[in-house]
C-alpha cells in the first residue's frame, strides 16, 4: 500500500499530505465493496486488550538474545570445545595413557619439541606434555567452576542479607574491610600452613575469601531494588524477609551473578598460578597453575612448555569471560525485545 500512497502523494499541500483515493482504487486494493468498507465494524474490546502480546519465557528470551550475539556464541563454543576436548584429549582417542599415573618419564625425550608422537612435546623429564596439559586443563576448570559456583552461592546469600538487613551492614562492611585490606595471600598461606592444601581446602578457602566481592556487588544491587515499590507491595501483602529476598530480589540478580561467575573463573585460575608459584598448591595432580609455574624454569630455552598451557589458559579464561559477559547481558530482561 505504501508505494501506492507515495504515487498518489502529488497534490501536496501545506501541513499534511492530503491524499484522495477513488472508490475504484480502494476496491482494487482491498477487494471489498465501498459499502462494506464504509460500514462500522462491531467493536471487540477483548481484541483491543489482546493487542501487543507475545508468548514470553524468561530463559527462552535469554537464550534467544544470547544466540543473537554471534561472537559470544563462538566464544562459548570455543570454551565448551576446549573443556570437552580436555576430556577427549586424555581419552584413548588421543592418547595411549589411561591415567595420569601412567605417564612415564623418558630421558631421551626430555624437552622434546612437539612432533607427531608428542603433540605438545615433552617436559623436562620427558613426559608427554599433551596429556599433562589437557589433564591439568580439566582439573583447573573444575576447580574454577567449583570455586565460581561456591563463591557466587555464598556471595549471593550473604549479599542479600547484607543489602536487606540494615543491622548487618556494619558487620559485613567490617568483614569486607578485613578481607579487602589484607592481601589474600596472607590468608591463603596461613591456611595452607595450618590446615593443608588439598583440593577441598583450596576450594573452601578460595570461596571463603572471594565471596565478599560478590556479596558486595549483590548488596549494591539490593540497595537499588530494596525500596522498589513491588517490594513494598510484598510487605503490604505480608511477605516474610526470605520470600522477598528469594522471590523479589534474587531473580533480578541473575545477570550480575553470571557476570561474577564469568569473572571468577579467570580469577581462580589466576589465583591458582600464584599459589603454585608460592608452593601453596597440591602437587598430586597437575593443574594449569602448576604447569605454568614449572615451565618458568625452562621456558627461555623451551618455550613450548610455557606456550601450550599459557595458550590454553588464555583461551579458557578469555572465551569464558567474553561468553559470560554476553550471557550476563542476555540475562538482563531490559535487553530482551
Amino acid at each position: 500500500m505504501k508505494s501506492k500512497q507515495r504515487a498518489l502523494a502529488e497534490g501536496q499541500e501545506q501541513d499534511a499530505v492530503i491524499l484522495r483515493y477513488s472508490t475504484e482504487e480502494l476496491e482494487a486494493v482491498t477487494g471489498a465493496s465501498e459499502a462494506e468498507l464504509f460500514s462500522f465494524v462491531e467493536y471487540q474490546p477483548e481484541e483491543a486488550e489482546r493487542v501487543g502480546h507475545s508468548e514470553y519465557s524468561y530463559w527462552k528470551s535469554v537464550w534467544k538474545s544470547f544466540l543473537k550475539k554471534k561472537s559470544a556464541v563462538v566464544m562459548l563454543i570455543i570454551f565448551l570445545t576446549v573443556f570437552v576436548f580436555s576430556f577427549i584429549a586424555i581419552s584413548p582417542l588421543c592418547t595411549k595413557y589411561s591415567h595420569y599415573s601412567e605417564l612415564k618419564s623418558s630421558r631421551s625425550n626430555k624437552f622434546a619439541t612437539p612432533d607427531s608422537e608428542y603433540w605438545f612435546g615433552a617436559d623436562n623429564i620427558g613426559r608427554d606434555y599433551w596429556y599433562q596439559v589437557w589433564y591439568a586443563t580439566r582439573h583447573s576448570v573444575m576447580l574454577a567452576a567449583i570455586v565460581g559456583v561456591g563463591e557466587v552461592l555464598v556471595g549471593v546469600v550473604m549479599g542479600l542479607l547484607w543489602g536487606y538487613v540494615r543491622k548487618l551492614d556494619r558487620i559485613f562492611t567490617e568483614i569486607y574491610n578485613i578481607i579487602y585490606s589484607v592481601p589474600t595471600i596472607i590468608y591463603m598461606t596461613l591456611i595452607a600452613l595450618m590446615i593443608g592444601k588439598t583440593f577441598l581446602v583450596m576450594c573452601v578457602s578460595l570461596i571463603a575469601f572471594n565471596w565478599i566481592y560478590t556479596a558486595k556487588s549483590i548488596r549494591n544491587l539490593v540497595f537499588m531494588y530494596r525500596d522498589r515499590e513491588y517490594n513494598l507491595a510484598s510487605r503490604c501483602l505480608g511477605a516474610k524477609l526470605g520470600t522477598i529476598l528469594t522471590k523479589n530480589i534474587l531473580p533480578y540478580l541473575i545477570s550480575v551473578v553470571i557476570l561474577r561467575m564469568a569473572l571468577s573463573i579467570p580469577q581462580t585460575i589466576g589465583y591458582e598460578t600464584t599459589l603454585a608459584y608460592l608452593g601453596l598448591l597440591d602437587v598430586k595432580e597437575p593443574a594449569l597453575g602448576l604447569l605454568l609455574r614449572n615451565s618458568r624454569e625452562h621456558f627461555i630455552n623451551y618455550p613450548h612448555l610455557l606456550i601450550f598451557p599459557a595458550a590454553i589458559v588464555s583461551l579458557i579464561t578469555v572465551t569464558f569471560y567474553l561468553a559470560g559477559n554476553a550471557f550476563s547481558d542476555a540475562a538482563d530482561p531490559r535487553n530482551h525485545v
Binding site: 467493536y43 502480546h53 510487605r235
Partner: protein, 676 residues
C-alpha cells in the same frame, strides 16, 4: 509579536513556514529487528507560533522532533522524507559540522528532566555562558554579564550569586529555568520543549509555562511544545498536532482540536479526561494498547481500539481530510463516502462543561449521622534519619476516614502524602501519634494477630505500574502473593480460581495469569496491581497516585475500575494525588498537605468552592484545564510560605465549617471566616 499578528498567522493570512517536514520516516534497529517509530509524518511550522504535539508515550512525538536536531539515538535514522529548514533538507545532514549550524543557534531544545540535564560538576553560570560564547560571540566579562542577565530573565533570584553555584544546589523548578536559560541563550529561531514540566509540581509547572510564554514573546521564538497533558496544551498552544503510533492524526488550531476534533483518537483522548467526567458516572475509556511498531501496520493504527471503526480502517491508511483551512484530520470518517457521524457529546459540550459545579445531587458525608471511621489518624508524626540528618516527613497530622468514602490527600512531591499512606500500611513506622483501624491501634508494636488483620484489611495500590510489579514473576504469582503469604487457601486449584476471579474483576482475561508483567500496558499493569490488593478482600485501600504515571487514555480505565470496585465491595479509599483536577472527580473529601502538614481538609466541592488556605488557592489556580479559552485567561496565584507569621500567634487545626478544617492562627482564621 502582538495578538493581532498571531491571529493573522493562525487565520492563515500570513503563513510564513519556518520548517517543513514531509513524510518523515524514522526507523530504529534493535537487536536485529527494525522498529518504525515515525511512519510518514508531515508538518509545517509557522514562524512565531507555538505548536503543541500531544500524544501518549510511544507515539513518537519526541523522536519526531529530535530529527530536527539530528539528535536521534545512534541506532536510529531518518529513512525517508525530508525536513526543510532555511532552504536545506536537514534530514540529509550527516556530519557534526552540518548539524552544528543548526543546533543551538537555529533550533534549541529543553528536555524533560531538569535533574539530569545539567552537568553536575559545572557551575550554573558556566553552563549558561557556554551557550552565549558559542552563539552570541561574547566572551570574558561580557559573556558573564549576559549569563547573569539570562539567569535573571528566566526568573532566578539573586543571579550573581547563583551564577557560581552548582546544579545540585537548585531545586527542580529552578534547574528547569536554568535549562531554559541555556536553550534560550543560544538565541534559537525554534525552541523545542520536550515535556519540560512533566517532572515538576503543578504550581511550578504553571510558572514555567508562564515563563516560556514570556520568553517566546521577548525573543520571538517559534515553539514546539511536546506534552501528553491536554491541560498544558490548552495553556500554551496556538496550534495542536495529535500524534498516534508514529503519525500525526489530527492537526489544527487549539480551538479546532479542543472544540471540534474529528479523529476518533482525539475524541477518545478528550473525553477520557477526568476533568470532563461526571462524578459518579463512568468515564469514557480507550481500551487496549497502542500497536507494536515492530509490526507492519495496515490501515488506521487506531482502528482496533476505535469504537466506531469501519472496515476500511483496518485495510487502508486514511489520508488527511481538511476540516477547515487550519484543521485537518486523518480519518475515514471525514470521507464523503462514509456514513455521517456526529462528534461525541462530551466534545461538543467541552466549552460548556468545563468548570461547572458538580451539582448539589452529591452526597455530603458530614450530613450522614451514621458514618463510622475506618481509619483514625491522631497526631501522626513520621521522621526519617536521626540526629543531624533528621527529617520530619509528616508533622502532627490528624484526620479520620469514614467507611465507604474516598478520601483524597493532595500535595506536591515531598509533602509527606505518600509517607502518610505508607504509615497506615505499616511500611513506614510512625514516630509519634497513633493510627487506628476500626478503633484498633495498628501503629507501633502490635501483635501478630493484629498484623495479619492489617494485612488483610488494608491494602495498597502503587504509583508506578512499572516498578510496583515484580517483573520476574508471573501474574499468577503476583496476584496470589498475599494469599500465599497468609496461607488463605487450601490448595493450588483454589488459589488459581481466586486469581482468575480477581483478574476478571479488574477486567483482565484470566489467561493473563501465566504471563509476565512486562507484556502488559501501563493500565493493565495497574489493574494487576489492583487485583493483587483486591484478592485480600480488604476494607480499606491506600491508592498512592495510582494514575499519575499513566497515559491519559488509560487513566480513565483505572479510575472507572476504582469507582466500580468501591461500589461492589464497599471499599474505602485513601487516594493520594498531586493533581486536584483528578481528585475532584473521584473523591468525597480532600485534604491538602504541604510540607508534612495538612493545611486544609474539606468535602471536595466545598474545597473547590471555598478554598481558604493560600496554598490551596495557589494549587487550584495552577490546575491546567483542557480548555484553551480558560487556560489563556487564567490567573496564577503564587504561594509563599513566608506570608504566615507564626512567631507569636500559633497556628491551630480548626474546623472552620462542619467538616471543613483549616490550619492557621487566629488572625488568619478570622480572615478565612470573612471569605466564606
Amino acid at each position: 509579536m502582538n495578538k493581532n499578528e498571531k491571529d493573522a498567522i493562525l487565520s492563515g493570512r500570513e503563513r510564513n513556514v519556518i520548517l517543513s517536514a514531509r513524510d518523515v520516516e524514522v526507523q530504529f534497529s534493535l537487536r536485529g529487528d527494525r522498529l518504525t517509530a515515525i511512519r510518514g509524518c508531515s508538518l509545517d511550522l509557522y514562524e512565531g507560533e507555538t505548536l503543541a504535539i500531544v500524544g501518549e508515550s510511544g507515539s513518537g512525538k519526541s523522536v519526531f522532533t529530535k530529527t530536527f536536531l539530528g539528535m536521534l539515538d545512534a541506532n536510529g535514522s531518518v529513512t525517508g522524507g525530508s525536513i526543510l529548514f532555511e532552504g536545506e533538507d536537514i534530514s540529509r545532514f550527516k556530519t557534526e559540522k552540518e548539524w552544528k549550524r543548526i543546533r543551538g543557534g537555529k533550533i534549541s531544545m529543553v528536555m524533560q528532566d531538569p535533574m539530569t540535564s545539567l552537568n553536575p560538576l559545572k557551575r550554573i553560570g558556566v553552563q549558561v555562558e557556554e551557550s552565549i560564547r558559542l552563539h552570541q560571540g561574547l566572551s570574558g566579562a561580557e559573556a558573564k554579564r549576559e549569563a547573569i542577565r539570562m539567569l535573571d530573565i528566566v526568573g532566578i533570584p539573586d543571579p550573581e550569586r547563583r551564577y557560581h553555584q552548582y546544579p545540585h544546589e537548585f531545586s527542580g523548578g529552578m534547574r528547569q529555568r536554568v535549562v531554559i536559560a541555556i536553550a534560550v541563550a543560544c538565541r534559537p529561531r525554534i525552541l523545542i520543549c520536550d515535556e519540560p514540566t512533566t517532572a515538576l509540581d503543578v504550581t511550578i509547572q504553571a510558572q514555567i509555562l508562564d515563563l516560556i510564554r514570556r520568553l517566546q514573546e521577548q525573543f520571538s521564538m517559534t515553539i514546539i511544545y511536546i506534552t501528553h497533558d491536554l491541560g498544558v496544551v490548552a495553556n500554551v498552544a496556538d496550534r495542536v498536532a495529535v500524534m498516534y503510533a508514529g503519525q500525526i492524526v489530527e492537526i489544527g488550531t487549539a480551538e479546532d482540536v479542543f472544540y471540534n476534533a474529528w479523529h476518533p483518537y482525539s475524541w477518545a483522548l478528550l473525553s477520557a479526561l477526568p476533568q470532563l467526567g461526571i462524578k459518579g458516572k463512568k468515564l469514557p475509556t480507550i481500551d487496549g494498547t497502542p500497536p507494536n511498531l515492530f509490526n507492519k501496520i495496515t490501515g488506521d493504527a487506531f482502528a482496533p481500539r476505535n469504537r466506531r471503526a469501519m472496515a476500511i480502517d483496518f485495510k487502508v491508511d486514511p489520508p488527511f481530510f481538511e476540516v477547515s483551512e487550519t484543521h485537518k484530520a486523518k480519518t475515514w470518517l471525514l470521507d464523503p463516502r462514509s456514513p455521517k457521524v456526529e462528534q461525541p457529546a462530551s466534545i461538543r459540550q467541552l466549552s460548556e462543561r468545563m468548570n461547572q459545579d458538580y451539582g448539589s445531587g452529591l452526597k455530603h458525608p458530614h450530613q450522614d449521622p451514621n458514618r463510622v471511621p475506618v481509619i483514625t489518624v491522631k497526631d501522626l508524626q513520621v521522621t526519617f534519619g536521626s540526629g543531624r540528618k533528621k527529617f520530619v516527613a509528616v508533622d502532627k497530622v490528624n484526620f479520620e476516614i469514614y467507611k465507604g468514602e474516598t478520601f483524597a490527600l493532595v500535595g506536591e512531591s515531598g509533602s509527606g502524602k505518600t509517607t502518610i499512606g505508607r504509615a497506615i500500611t505499616r511500611i513506614n513506622p510512625a514516630t509519634e501519634g497513633e493510627i487506628l483501624f476500626k478503633g484498633e491501634r495498628i501503629s507501633g508494636k502490635i501483635s501478630k494477630e493484629v498484623d495479619q488483620k492489617v494485612i488483610r484489611g488494608i491494602q495498597m495500590i502503587f504509583q508506578d505500574p512499572l516498578a510496583s510489579l515484580n517483573e520476574r514473576a508471573k501474574v499468577e504469582y503476583i496476584v496470589s502473593e498475599g494469599v500465599r503469604n497468609l496461607k488463605m487457601c487450601k490448595n493450588s486449584a483454589e488459589r488459581e480460581e481466586l486469581v482468575q476471579n480477581a483478574l476478571r474483576e479488574v477486567g483482565l482475561l484470566p489467561e493473563f495469569a501465566s504471563r509476565f508483567p512486562h507484556e502488559f500496558s501501563g493500565g493493565q499493569r495497574q489493574r494487576i496491581g489492583i487485583a493483587r490488593a483486591l484478592i485480600m478482600k480488604p476494607e480499606f485501600i491506600v491508592a498512592d497516585e495510582p494514575i499519575s504515571a499513566l497515559d491519559v487514555s488509560i487513566r480513565a480505565q483505572v479510575l472507572n475500575l476504582l469507582n466500580e470496585l468501591k461500589g461492589t465491595y464497599g471499599l474505602t479509599y485513601l487516594f493520594i494525588a498531586h493533581d486536584l483536577s483528578v481528585v475532584r472527580f473521584i473523591s468525597d473529601r480532600i485534604a491538602v498537605i504541604y510540607k508534612g502538614k495538612i493545611v486544609e481538609l474539606a468535602e471536595a466541592e466545598e474545597l473547590f468552592r471555598h478554598p481558604l488556605h493560600p496554598y490551596t488557592r495557589a494549587l487550584l489556580s495552577a490546575i491546567p484545564n483542557p480548555d484553551p479559552a480558560i487556560e489563556r485567561s487564567k490567573k496564577l496565584l503564587v504561594y509563599d510560605p513566608a506570608q504566615h507569621d507564626y512567631s507569636e500567634d500559633k497556628p491551630v487545626w480548626t474546623e472552620i465549617l462542619p467538616d471543613h478544617f483549616v490550619y492557621g492562627n487566629k488572625q488568619e482564621l478570622n480572615q478565612y471566616r470573612g471569605m466564606l
